[in-house]
């Protein structure tokens, strides 16, 4: 009987592992509860989502200095923070790359970039690269909108900022703004997942 149980457990474990390998990535899906973290900001302080007592949610942006797509979007990320931080949805930027592979993304470079661009949002380093895999981020830029709920920070949107990485003035659909606006108005988000082109996260 014991052996049978053991076998059953083994079969179950195998099935689960086979399943996870076959599905794309192991990150969050819409509706999952996102992990909090404690990551170093460019000002030297450690930042967690739980620090933002009055926030209604978060616009979590995995981004970096060195990816041209991330650079193309950095002004738009800053604009998102200006527009939504006061409304309860601050931008939290996380730099996920291994800085040995991409020295241009190290803490000094992050500080310099933030200063030059006048970033008003926290720009955190995923030191040890433990956080981005839990979210399932694969590239920069990669956005997760979270809503604070009783259960925790619930994933409400995953994907791109908008539908034109090249030219902000030619954007037709502002995915992130539409999603946050819907959350603020208590409406259902129409487009919950989009694809964005980006640079693979350097491990």
């Amino acid at each position: 009987m014991k052996i049978l149980k053991l076998l059953a457990v083994m079969v179950l474990a195998l099935t689960i592992s086979a399943f996870t390998i076959n599905t794309e990535g192991n990150g969050y899906k819409i509706g999952d509860i996102a992990t909090d973290f404690s990551l170093e900001n460019i000002d030297g302080n450690m930042v967690s989502l739980s620090d933002f007592k009055t926030a209604k949610g978060f616009i979590v942006v995995f981004t970096c200095n060195t990816c041209p797509y991330a650079v193309a979007y950095e002004d738009r990320v800053e604009a998102l923070n200006k527009k939504y931080a006061d409304k309860g949805y601050p931008v939290i930027a996380i730099m996920p790359n291994n800085t040995n592979v991409k020295p241009g993304d190290n803490m000094e470079a992050m500080k310099a970039r933030a200063k030059a661009k006048g970033f008003t949002f926290p720009y955190l380093m995923d030191k040890g690269q433990k956080i981005y895999p839990q979210y399932g981020a694969t590239k920069t830029p990669h956005i997760y909108i979270l809503e604070k709920t009783k259960k925790g920070n619930e994933v409400k949107y995953i994907g791109a900022i908008d539908d034109n990485y090249k030219d902000a003035s030619l954007v037709n659909e502002k995915y992130v703004e539409n999603a946050v606006d819907a959350l603020l108005e208590g409406n259902e988000i129409k487009v919950k997942e989009t694809r964005a082109i980006g640079c693979s996260i350097k491990v």
């Binding site: 193309a72 694969t138 590239k139 791109a160 539908d163 990485y165 090249k166 694809r195 964005a196 640079c199």
Partner: protein, 182 residues
């Protein structure tokens, strides 16, 4: 014995040098170098496609094995694996294998970065430029599992089709090609 050691040492260092060069080459192109080759750039006939234009090129129905690699000059892991695709292009030319390098460089960099890169690396595979900003349309259209990161590669022959959102070593790429030649 001493000689052997010396040779090994030289080999190790030159190899190391080589790989680090490849990694930074894209960004290390100075404007002077660029200017130096500009006179020849008109020789390179770079075709530019949006998704509707690209679609037939990545869905050919002939009996060839098609290897389509999405890359950009600024993408270090892409640049690193480019020689492997070049190698495949040469090695399997007579085995009905065709390599297509689809550059995602921004249009403003076609003349200043992409064409000089094609020339300085003497790329023999066919290179096309892909310019389509509606990422949410074409990423899932190219492959439903593509999250959108590059490098990314499609290998297909007729109905058999595999998609890879990853980098390759030379050996790994070789194994995949062999799988299609059987």
């Amino acid at each position: 014995m001493k000689w052997l050691f010396l040779v090994l040492l030289i080999c190790v260092f030159s190899c190391k040098d080589h790989s680090s060069n490849t990694d930074t080459e894209a960004s290390a192109l100075t404007s002077e170098e660029v200017n130096g080759v500009l006179a020849f750039e008109s020789d390179i006939d770079l075709k530019i496609y949006d998704y509707d234009g690209l679609e037939p090129l990545i869905n050919k129905t002939d009996d060839k094995v098609h290897v389509v690699n999405f890359w950009a000059t600024w993408c270090a892991p892409c640049v690193k694996e480019l020689p492997y695709f070049e190698e495949i292009n040469v090695k399997y030319k007579n085995n009905n294998v065709e390599v297509l390098l689809v550059s995602l460089d921004f249009p403003k960099n076609y003349e200043t970065k992409l064409k000089p890169f094609i020339r300085s690396h003497d790329l023999k595979s066919k290179v096309v430029a892909f310019d389509d900003t509606n990422q949410n349309r074409w990423i899932p259209a190219i492959n439903k599992n593509w999250s959108g990161a590059i490098p990314a590669t499609i290998i297909y022959k007729g109905d058999k089709r595999k998609f890879y959102e990853r980098s390759f070593t030379q050996e790994e790429l070789e194994v995949e090609i062999q799988g299609f030649l059987k």
